[in-house]
C-alpha cells in the first residue's frame, strides 16, 4: 500500500499533467496559428502577384507586331506591274516568226505556214503558260520568302520585346537594389548623426525637424539647411549642429556613384526624438 501510493500516485499525476500540458499547447497553438497565418499568407501571395503582373505586361506588348502584316500588303501590288513588263517581249518574238514565214507562196506552204503558225501559237501559248507558271512559282516563292521574312521579323520583334522586358525588369530590380542600398546608407547616416546629437532640454516627443544635407561623393557634408522647422530654434540648431559635428560619412565612399547621385547628392534627414517620454 505504502509503495503503491509512493510511486503510482506521483507517476499518474506527472503523466496526466504532461499530457494535459501538451494538449493545451497543441490546441492553443493551432488556434493562434490559424489566426496568424490567415493574415500572413495573402500578403505573401500578393507580393508574388505583383512580379507576375510585370512579367505578363511585357508579353502583351509583343502582339504589337501586327505592323509587319500591314507592310506586307503593298508588296502584292508591285507584282502585277512586273507581269506587264514581262509580257511585251513575247509578242515581239511572235512577230519575228510571222515575218520569216511570209516569203513562201504555195497553199501547202500556206498550210504549212498555218500549221507552223498554229504550232508556234501553241508553242507560244506553252511558253506563256510556262512563263506564267514560272511566274506563279516565283510569286509563290516570293510570298513564301516574304512570309518567312515576316515571321523572322515578328520573331525578332518578339525577342526584342522580351529583351526589353528583361531589361526593364533588370533596371527595376537594380532600382530596387539601389533603393535598399540607399536605405541602408541612409540609416547609417542617421545613426551617425544621432550619435552626435545632443538634444536641448526643451526637446519634446512630437517635435520634428527636417534637414536638407548636401553631400559630395567622398562623404563630406558641404551644406546643411533646415527645410522644415520644428518651431523650436534650439532644437533646430541642435540638429544642424549634430550634422556638422558628424562632418563626413566615410562609408559613403564605397557607394556606387549612381546611387549617390540619385539619393545622396541632396539628402533629407528627419530628426525625431523617439526615445523621449514627453
Amino acid at each position: 500500500m505504502g509503495i503503491l501510493s509512493n510511486y503510482i500516485v506521483p507517476t499518474l499525476f506527472t503523466v496526466l499533467l504532461h499530457i494535459l500540458v501538451v494538449f493545451t499547447v497543441l490546441i492553443g497553438w493551432q488556434l493562434s496559428d490559424t489566426h496568424r497565418f490567415r493574415v500572413d499568407t495573402p500578403r505573401y501571395v500578393k507580393a508574388e502577384l505583383v512580379t507576375l503582373e510585370q512579367k505578363q505586361k511585357q508579353p502583351k506588348a509583343e502582339p504589337a507586331a501586327p505592323v509587319p502584316v500591314a507592310q506586307s500588303a503593298p508588296q502584292p501590288d508591285s507584282e502585277p506591274s512586273e507581269e506587264e513588263a514581262a509580257a511585251p517581249p513575247e509578242t515581239e518574238s511572235s512577230a519575228d516568226a510571222a515575218v520569216s514565214a511570209s516569203p513562201d507562196p504555195a497553199i501547202e506552204r500556206q498550210r504549212q505556214l498555218e500549221r507552223e503558225q498554229e504550232q508556234q501559237l501553241q508553242r507560244e501559248q506553252e511558253l506563256r503558260r510556262q512563263r506564267e507558271e514560272e511566274y506563279q512559282r516565283h510569286l509563290k516563292q516570293q510570298r513564301a520568302s516574304e512570309k518567312r521574312a515576316q515571321e523572322q521579323a515578328r520573331q525578332r520583334q518578339q525577342q526584342q520585346a522580351l529583351q526589353r522586358a528583361m531589361q526593364e525588369e533588370e533596371t527595376l530590380m537594380q532600382a530596387e537594389q539601389d533603393e535598399v542600398l540607399a536605405d541602408s546608407y541612409a540609416a547609417l547616416v542617421k545613426r551617425t548623426v544621432e550619435s552626435h546629437w545632443s538634444r536641448p532640454p526643451s526637446a519634446r516627443k512630437d517635435m520634428q525637424v527636417e534637414l536638407a544635407i548636401r553631400l559630395v561623393p567622398t562623404g563630406e557634408v558641404v551644406g546643411v539647411e533646415v527645410t522644415r522647422s520644428s518651431g523650436n530654434t534650439s532644437f533646430d540648431r541642435s540638429a544642424v549642429l549634430a550634422v556638422k559635428k558628424a562632418g563626413r560619412f566615410p562609408e559613403l565612399k564605397d557607394m556606387p556613384s549612381s546611387v549617390f547621385e540619385q539619393y545622396f547628392r541632396s539628402f533629407t534627414l528627419v530628426f525625431k526624438p523617439e526615445d523621449l517620454l514627453l
Binding site: G2, P10, F13, V15, V21, L26, W29, Q30, D33, D40
Partner: protein
Amino acid sequence: MNENLSVVSLITNAGPLVQGVMLLLFLASVASWWIIARRFLFFRRARHEYADFENEFWSGVDLGQLYKEGNAKLEEGRDIGGAESVFRAGFKEFSRLRQQMGGDSDAVMEGSQRAMRVALSREQDRVDRSLGFLATVGSTSPYIGLFGTVWGIMNAFRGLANVQQATLAVVAPGISEALIATAMGLFAAIPAVIAFNRFSNVSQSLVNRYDTFAEEFSSILHRQAHGRRGERDI
C-alpha cells in the same frame, strides 16, 4: 510551407541536436514533476506523522509502550521515520547502556545522545533527498533550452545565407522551432525552482522540529539518568 507550421511539424522538422535538447528537457520536466509529487506526499505524511507522534509522546503514555508499538509497526512492514525514529534510537541506546553500565549516567547520556544525533542526521538526509535534482533541473534547464535555441537560430541564419531573397519568412520557422526549446526549458525549470524553494523550506522546518524533539527527549532521559531512580519505569 507556411500552412503546416504546427508544433508537431516544428518539432519533427527541428535539427537532431535541438530535438535531443527538447527530449532531454521533456524528460527533465517529467522527472522533476514526479519528484515534486513524491516529495509533496512525503512531506504531508511526515508532518502528519510528526504531529501524531508528538501528541502520543506528550500524552503521558509509557515510553516503553511507545517503543513496543513502534516495533509492532516495523513488523507490519511500515517504515518509521521522523521524530519517532529519533526517539527509538535514543530509547534503545539508553536502555541498552543502562543495562550494561548501570550507574554511569554520564556515559549513558552521552551514548544515547550520540545515537539520537546519528538518527537525526539520517532523518535529515531522508528529508533532503532528491531536492538536489530539483535544484539541478531548476538551474540548468533554462540553459539547456537556451543552448537548443541558440543552435537552432544559428542554423536558421546559416540557411538564410544561402537564400537570394532574404525574407523573414525564411528564418521565422527556424527561429520559432528553436524557441520551443527555450519554452520547454522554462517549463521544466519554473516548477522545479518553486518546488525546490518550498521543499527546502519545509524540510528545514521539519529537521528543526526533529532537533527540538531530540533535545526535549534527551532532557527527559537526562532526568531519568541523573534523577531519582525508579520514578519512571524505563
